[in-house]
C-alpha cells in the first residue's frame, strides 16, 4: 500500500468519525409493557412514539440529528421497570418516557432524583413539583371529579365502583373517597383481582337497583372481565370504563358483549371535533391521518397519550440548548406551555400538565367515541 493511499484512508476515517459524531442521534428511552396483562396500555403508546420517531426522522430529524427511540419492556412489573430505567440511563437516554402503570412508574421515579427527566401519561402518578418527573395527563383526582360533575349534571347521587387490587386500583379508591362524598355522591365499592376472569360476584355486591351508573376503574385488558360479567348479569345501567381502556383493542375484546351504553373518561381530543384550539386540532388531525396510514390502526385515547409524550420530547429537543442537562429541561417544562393533544402547562408548583377542562365523559357510538349523552 502506498503512502498516499494510507494517508487518504486515514483522512477518510477521521472525516467519517467526525461525521458520525455530529450525527449522533437523540436517544430517548421508553418503558412500556408489551407483554403481560397491561400490554394494551403499553403497545398503543409505544406505537404512537414510534410513529413520531419515523415521522420526525423522515423530515431530517431535529436540529440535524435523528431521533432514536430505545424501548424496554417492563411487563408491568416494578422490578423489571427498575431494570429498564437503569438500562436506559446507562444508554445515555436524554429523557425517559414511562408508559407503564402506577406501581412500575413509582418504582422507577426513585432512579431519576438527579435526572434525566421522566415523562409519564399515567393519571395515577402525581409527581411532586420538586422532582424530575412530569405527567402529561389530568390527575386521577381530576378524572374522578369529571365523573362526579357528570353525575351532578344529571341529578344522580350514587354510583357503583369496581376497582382492581393493584396500585392503580388503590389510587382509584383514594380518589373516590376524596371526591364523591364531597360532591354529595354515595358509592359502593368492590375490588377485583387482576387475574380474575369473572366479576359477577363483585357486580352483584354493588350494582344494586336504582344505581344509575357503574364505574369500572380497572385498567388493562383484564377489565374485559367486568364488561363480560356485566353482560352475563343482564345489567342495564350505563357502564363507564377507565381512562386507560378507551382503546380499540379493548373494544375488540368486548364487542360481542357491548353494554347498551358504554361510557368512558377520556381526553377531549379523542373526539377531535370537540377541540376548539386550532393549533391543537391541526396537530391531532395530522396525527390521525398519518398514524392510521402508517400503523393501519385507529388512534385512541392511549395513542393520544403516546402523542403527548412525543410532542413533549419534540419540544424539549427543539427548544432546550442542551437536552442532556436535566435541570435545564425541568426549567424549560416549568416555564413553557407545550401544544399537543391539549396544552400542557407545568409550573414550579405542579408537574401535572392537564386539568379537568381537558377531560370529557365520552360515549362509544357507531364505532367511535363522542361526547356522552345525558344519563337517564
Amino acid at each position: 500500500m502506498t503512502l498516499t493511499r494510507i494517508v487518504g484512508l486515514a483522512l477518510f476515517a477521521a472525516f467519517a468519525a467526525g461525521t458520525a459524531q455530529a450525527a449522533d442521534p437523540w436517544v430517548i428511552g421508553i418503558i412500556a409493557p408489551t407483554t403481560g396483562p397491561l400490554t394494551t396500555v403499553g403497545l398503543r403508546q409505544l406505537s404512537a412514539v414510534q410513529w413520531w420517531e419515523q415521522d420526525v426522522n423522515s423530515k431530517g430529524g431535529i436540529r440535524g440529528r435523528r431521533v432514536q427511540i430505545v424501548h424496554c419492556n417492563d411487563e408491568g412489573s416494578p422490578e423489571k421497570a427498575v431494570t429498564c430505567a437503569r438500562d436506559l440511563i446507562d444508554k445515555k437516554s436524554l429523557l425517559i418516557l414511562n408508559s407503564s402503570v402506577t406501581g412500575p412508574i413509582r418504582a422507577t421515579m426513585q432512579l431519576v432524583t438527579q435526572g434525566p427527566v421522566m415523562i409519564t401519561p399515567s393519571p395515577n402518578v402525581m409527581p411532586e413539583a420538586s422532582t424530575f418527573v412530569f405527567q402529561t395527563s389530568p390527575s386521577d383526582l381530576a378524572l374522578t371529579q369529571a365523573i362526579a360533575d357528570y353525575l351532578k349534571e344529571n341529578h344522580a347521587d350514587s354510583l357503583a365502583i369496581i376497582a382492581a387490587t393493584d396500585a392503580s386500583g388503590e389510587v382509584g379508591v383514594a380518589s373516590a373517597a376524596a371526591i364523591f362524598p364531597k360532591s354529595g355522591i354515595k358509592y359502593d365499592l368492590a375490588r377485583i383481582d387482576l387475574r380474575a376472569n369473572d366479576a359477577s360476584v363483585q357486580l352483584a355486591n354493588v350494582a344494586k337497583a336504582g344505581v344509575p351508573l357503574i364505574y369500572s376503574n380497572y385498567s388493562g385488558a383484564g377489565a374485559a372481565a367486568v364488561v363480560k360479567s356485566y353482560s352475563n348479569l343482564g345489567l342495564t345501567q350505563p357502564l363507564l370504563i377507565s381512562y386507560a381502556n378507551i382503546s380499540d383493542s379493548f373494544i375488540n375484546v368486548i364487542k360481542s358483549d357491548m353494554p347498551p351504553r358504554l361510557l368512558g373518561t377520556g381526553l377531549t381530543a379523542v373526539s377531535p371535533e370537540l377541540i376548539t384550539d386550532p393549533e391543537e386540532r391541526k396537530r391531532i388531525e395530522y396525527f390521525v391521518t398519518s398514524y392510521e396510514a402508517w400503523k393501519k390502526e385507529k388512534m385512541d385515547n392511549l395513542s393520544l397519550q403516546g402523542l403527548g409524550l412525543a410532542d413533549t420530547a419534540a419540544a424539549i429537543l427543539t427548544q432546550v440548548d442542551d437536552p442532556s442537562n436535566a435541570v435545564a429541561v425541568r426549567d424549560f417544562l416549568e416555564k413553557t406551555p407545550i401544544k399537543s393533544i391539549a396544552t400542557f402547562r407545568y409550573s414550579r408548583e405542579s408537574h401535572i400538565g392537564l386539568g379537568a377542562k381537558d377531560i370529557s365523559i365520552l360515549e362509544y357510538k357507531d364505532g367511535r367515541w363522542v361526547k356522552a349523552a345525558p344519563l337517564k
Binding site: T40, R191, N205, A225, S256
Partner: protein, 288 residues
C-alpha cells in the same frame, strides 16, 4: 341482587372449567406419572384458535371443533414429541420439559396472534335466567351442564370401558400392562389427547363469558393443579374438587374481598394436604 346466589352461580361456572382441567390433568398424570405443566395451554390454544377462526367469519360450529382439535393436537404433541422419547428421564426432568412446552406455546401464540385479548360469540344466546336474586347466563348454564357431563363421562369411561381399564392398568404398572398386550405408548398418547380435549372444551365454553390471551394458560394450569391436588389426584374426585374450588373462590371474594381469595384457597389446599397425610400415616390409603 343476592350476593350469595351470585357467588354460587359464579363459583359453579368457574368450577365446571376447573373440573374439566383437573380431570384432564389427573388422566395424563395417571398414565405418565408426570404433572403436565403445559396442560392449561390446551385452554389457551383452543380459546385462541376458536377466536381466530370465528373472527374471520367462519361459523362457531366449525370454529369450536377446530379449537378443541387444536388443543388435542397440542397435548398429543407434548406426549409424542417431548415426553415419549425421554421416558427414561427422571419425572422431575419431564415436568420441567412440560413447563418448557408451556412457555414455548405461549411464545408461539403471542407471535402468531398478538398480545391482545380475544373472545368470540356465545353458543347459547338469550337473556340470563333469574332466580333467588341471581342471574345465570344461558352460556353459563351450558358450561356447567356440558362441563359436568363431560367430566362424568370421562370418569365413567375410565371405570366402565375396556379402553378405560387398559388406561388405568397402564398407569398402575406399565411393564405388567405391556406383558398383557396393552400398547402403553398408544394409551398414553390417547390420555394426553383426551386431557387436551377437556381443556379445550373448557375454553370454548368459558371464553365467550370472559376473554383469553396468549398468557391465559398458566393460570388455568394452576387452578387445574390445585383442584387435582385437592382431589388427591383421583379422577372420580376431580369433579367435586373442581366445583369446590370454584365455589370457595367465589364465596371468599364475596364475603372476605378479592384480596382474601388466594390466601383462603391455598389455606384450603394446605388443610386438605395435611388431612391426606394424616390418612396415610394412620392407616388410610396412600394417594397417587
Amino acid at each position: 341482587m343476592n350476593p350469595l346466589t351470585q357467588a354460587l352461580i359464579s363459583g359453579a361456572m368457574s368450577g365446571a372449567v376447573y373440573a374439566l382441567l383437573a380431570t384432564g390433568l389427573v388422566i395424563a398424570y395417571h398414565t405418565s406419572r408426570v404433572v403436565n405443566l403445559a396442560h392449561g395451554e390446551s385452554y389457551a390454544v383452543a380459546g385462541m384458535v376458536t377466536a381466530a377462526i370465528s373472527g374471520v367469519g367462519f361459523s362457531l360450529l366449525l370454529a369450536i371443533p377446530a379449537g378443541i382439535a387444536a388443543a388435542m393436537l397440542f397435548s398429543f404433541l407434548v406426549e409424542r414429541v417431548l415426553l415419549r422419547p425421554r421416558r427414561d428421564w427422571p419425572v422431575s426432568g419431564l415436568i420441567l420439559v412440560t413447563l418448557a412446552a408451556a412457555f414455548l406455546i405461549r411464545g408461539v401464540l403471542g407471535a402468531a396472534m398478538g398480545v391482545d385479548g380475544f373472545s368470540f360469540p356465545r353458543l347459547f344466546v338469550g337473556p340470563p335466567l333469574r332466580f333467588a336474586g341471581g342471574a345465570l347466563p344461558l352460556q353459563g348454564l351450558g358450561l356447567v351442564a356440558i362441563g359436568l357431563a363431560a367430566a362424568l363421562a370421562v370418569t365413567l369411561f375410565l371405570q366402565r370401558t375396556q379402553l378405560g381399564r387398559q388406561l388405568r392398568a397402564a398407569a398402575e404398572n406399565p411393564d405388567a400392562a405391556e406383558l398383557m398386550g396393552i400398547d402403553v405408548d398408544r394409551i398414553r398418547t390417547l390420555a394426553f389427547a383426551l386431557a387436551g380435549g377437556l381443556g379445550g372444551l373448557g375454553a370454548v365454553l368459558l371464553v365467550p363469558l370472559v376473554s383469553v390471551d396468549f398468557e391465559s394458560g398458566l393460570g388455568m394450569t394452576l387452578h387445574g393443579f390445585i383442584a387435582a391436588a385437592l382431589a388427591g389426584m383421583s379422577p372420580s374426585l376431580a369433579i367435586v374438587a373442581g366445583f369446590g374450588l370454584g365455589l370457595a373462590e367465589a364465596l371468599a371474594t364475596t364475603y372476605f374481598g378479592a384480596l382474601a381469595q388466594d390466601p383462603i384457597v391455598f389455606l384450603l389446599l394446605i388443610a386438605v394436604a395435611l388431612w391426606q397425610s394424616r390418612l396415610i400415616r394412620f392407616g388410610g390409603t396412600a394417594r397417587a
